[in-house]
Symmetry: C2
Subunit: 111 residues, 2 copies
């Protein structure tokens, strides 16, 4: 029987960046909270940042929504480890699908 | 006294790309009709395309709105010549303010 943790992980839907349209990618990047999440992930090693550790000026429900949008745009990968949901920026595969887009958005200092 | 044409031209507000935030730039680019206008301009010489000549699936009012958004994001420059409103993609100055952003969005084939 599936454990509660496995069931929780099953609710995570990931999309490969090659399946993402430019429209979906731009919609995901055209939000300051989501760009701050991505910049934070870019500044840390993969799988070291848990969802709850991001300093975001939004409610928990809104936070979950932002992570969901980022998964659907092929920008992040998530996995559950105990009570924590860890994150990885899908940099290599997103860069391959959308060359230069992260460099032109989250890499620049000015927002 | 100002001619009708001068008065019409005066309603055009332009914003220099250096004054534009990344948020405003991304909002402007995150629309398929606006990207099609920009791609069309990129494929033609400056000041050769009049607003009325773009093949867009929108009403005249919506079309005007899109051009207004593009001016406000520092993406296009417009000037009136007789009854025609001519356009120029502000490629050099937008590229200087947002390196790689047009290359990552309107230059790519897939949308």
């Amino acid at each position: 029987m599936a454990s509660a943790e496995t069931a929780r992980a099953r609710t995570l839907t990931h999309v490969d960046p090659v399946e993402v349209s430019l429209q979906v990618a731009l919609d995901a990047l055209a939000d300051p909270v989501r760009r701050s999440i991505l910049r934070d992930l870019a500044a840390h090693d993969d799988w070291t940042r848990a969802c709850g550790t991001f300093d975001l000026p939004v409610t928990k429900a809104t936070r979950s929504h932002h992570f969901s949008i980022l998964r659907a745009a092929g920008l992040i990968e998530q996995r559950d480890e105990g009570a924590r949901r860890l994150n990885r920026l899908r940099r290599p595969e997103f860069d391959a699908a959308f060359p230069g887009l992260l460099a032109a958005t989250i890499d620049r200092q000015a927002d």
